[in-house]
Symmetry: C2
Subunit: 218 residues, 2 copies
DNA sequence: GTCTATAAAGGGATAGAC
DNA sequence: GTCTATCCCTTTATAGAC
């Protein structure tokens, strides 16, 4: 009876079903993401996804019309998680901003989960051409843009040499990664040493960039 | 009769068979390479490879025990094609050497065939861990080593600032590629503009590197 | 060595009960 | 919406004739 006071008829009928359904969809997406990024698109079966999500295969098909559609949903869902916001304090030095931003960008790009999703998008490029562009725009392009905007200001303030801001941003990011992204994509056992390698590459990259771009303070 | 003079019995019996067999193996490898790099490992069927090589599937299995073995053979075969030899003339300027080497490396790494093989190796990293390492050692690592050796000499000659040669090599190569490798892997429609983008990235990269590393001539 | 034919298993997708 | 059971096709790999 008390239960009836807290649970309306609607809650007892349609609501629990819909709520449960939402959870199922979330579990399906999570399972699909794990399998697709772990084993690849073709090597992942709908059976495996259903099993990992603890639902029947028919339930998967009730929410996603087909395997390609589920894959697209996973990648799109990944969406805007690949942006590094760059908020420079007014009194912060150039070097300090670069180090902070460089570290965040490097950590994000070289994170195993990022590498895994990158791998599968690159692999399925011919089957899902639009997803590659989508990922590039949501990730690398926005990081570049963020940094280019900062460089525009730094050039106007006379902190760094005038050059195309976009070019400077691309070069800075390339220096932050060195060969680590390629190493990770190919799986050359950097995993254990990754944090150390990242830091070394970061410091050397900042040094190189500043030598090439820094202007003596007025 | 004349034919008999030029074709020994051995040629008429065993040789043609073995020669034909060699050709078949070559065709199988070529077909496998095309399919694997084009559609990916899982999406490529042994039937498709056999058909493209114009042999029966049983013939494929007569020469390669399984699909994984054929894949490994393809990647290994790719082998040492990814080295850029760096022969610097004695009287050649630093800038000229860098431009020549940078262009060759950039063209090699960004070639569609290289990108395609890179994609499939990265995608199959978990199933074939050793192939990723093999590719890195045969390709990027050797290019880095070649360049690092040159930088060692250039540092001793006082042409560039002293720094770890390996670090300088990695930074130079990163600057040569900018974001073009990532763009190509993801398929962001640079294909048409690629030669122009390569050249722009190359010049900007050399400029950046020289500003960071060049020492005034003694 | 090379072929045709086939075995054995797994995958995407759906029918139908609840 | 969710499940069980099933259809139908493709895939890897092999058997057996030549």
């Amino acid at each position: 009876m008390l239960v009836a006071l807290f649970m309306s008829p609607a809650t007892l009928t349609s609501r629990p079903v819909r709520s449960s359904s939402r959870e199922k969809i979330a579990r399906i997406l999570a399972a699909a993401r794990a399998r697709f990024t772990g084993a690849g698109y073709e090597a992942t079966s709908m059976d495996a996804i259903a099993a990992e999500a603890c639902v029947s295969k028919a339930t998967v098909y009730a929410h996603f019309r087909s395997k390609p559609e589920l894959f697209a949903a996973v990648i799109t869902d990944e969406g805007d998680q690949h942006l590094v916001p760059l908020a420079a304090g007014v009194h912060e030095s150039l070097e300090s901003v670069l180090r902070r931003f460089g570290r965040e960008a490097s950590e994000l790009v070289l994170a195993p989960s990022t590498t895994a999703i990158f791998r599968v998008i690159a692999a399925e490029r011919s089957r899902f051409p639009e997803l590659g562009k989508l990922f590039f725009e949501a990730g690398p392009a926005r990081i570049q843009g963020e940094l280019a905007d900062y460089f525009t200001g730094a050039m106007e303030r006379g902190e760094i040499r005038r050059e195309r801001p976009q070019t400077a941003a691309i070069q800075f990011l390339a220096l932050m990664l060195g060969d680590l992204q390629v190493r990770e994509l190919l799986g050359t056992e950097v995993a254990a040493d990754l944090p150390r390698m990242r830091e070394i590459t970061l410091e050397a990259g900042i040094d190189c960039f500043l030598r090439a771009y820094r202007l003596p303070a007025a």
